[in-house]
Symmetry: C2
Subunit: 189 residues, 2 copies
């Protein structure tokens, strides 16, 4: 029984941590997380050692799905410009969802206020992976300064996500022309 | 005595709220705020009615200083392009300060997760004022689409601030060329 129940408690804790920290913020209490997961605090600490590690694990667990939801498929052979625009089309679609509050990996880092927190480290790595994608495509696309273009693209990604998350703006009619302007200026046609 | 002590308690609460919410997040407890301000909870509730209203008042109180720290002086008669670039030069300087964790008006809205929170409303208005400045300068500068340029500029402002705040990037070598590219594309020379 115990060995069968363990993965399920773990899964429920990961799901509750991801959902509640996104909805209510990273300061959500351990009691609330355990209650939502239907898991005792004793079990939570046995499985994850600390709330910090549970948060980190919950961000890690969603990283592959996050990448897949944004990046082109492995067999997508469109040119770099289109592959970059694909990411922003996906981001715009995600930002239009009713419960969108910004990219969860950006929001977690802003709220944690500590780049050395285990969850900040995971979030940083996940976003660095997106930046790496932009840099690689910028290089393949012949950008004059691939590093600058990659920094600009992730800046636009995060800025647009944050502003859509707080309902200050939408990404519609904004993100596509902005990215196109930056690609044009970098010489990625 | 009471009438003399009141403004001082109010001021200390506003200062503690601004400092601690920026440093630790908006979920900082009322006890911690009152302790830092050296004010009883009873006095806090008498002065501000609620923590929500205290947060809103603390953001409101800094709004003028925020505008002054970013916008050109009233007698600054440089052309629109330079006046816009001035804002980003100031933002870059502020982002380089050691305790910088992102624009406080962006961070507060992200953390509050509720556009109707009194403090979110204040923060939204303060940032809308910066966007209005961009739009007015874009119009004066003959931008093809002043509304689009204003949205782009505040997006870059917030994206760069958020990424510098989480130590994912600096604004150095990034914000100036990005803004210049957007101004060029909009025809603001």
């Amino acid at each position: 029984m115990t060995t069968k129940a363990m993965p399920s408690s773990q899964q429920r804790l990961l799901e509750a941590a991801a959902r509640l920290t996104y909805q209510d913020g990273v300061n959500i209490g351990v009691d609330a997380l355990c209650k939502a997961a239907g898991v005792s605090k004793r079990s939570m600490y046995k499985l994850f050692e600390s709330k910090e590690k549970l948060l980190a694990a919950s961000l890690e667990e969603r990283a592959s799905a996050y990448d897949e939801s944004l990046l082109p498929a492995p067999d997508d052979d469109r040119p770099p410009r289109e592959r970059i625009l694909h990411v922003f089309e996906r981001a715009e679609a995600q930002a239009g969802e009713p419960d969108f509050q910004g990219c969860r990996y950006l929001v977690a880092q802003i709220e944690l206020k500590n780049p050395d927190h285990p969850a900040s480290r995971v979030a940083h790595r996940v976003k660095a992976n997106i930046t790496d994608f932009f840099r690689a495509e910028a290089e393949r696309g012949g950008a004059r300064d691939p590093e600058l273009l990659a920094r600009q693209l992730i800046l636009v990604f995060d800025g647009a996500s944050a502003r859509a998350g707080i309902k200050a703006d939408t990404q519609g009619g904004l993100i596509a022309p902005t990215v196109a302007t930056l690609l044009d200026a970098a010489g990625v046609r």
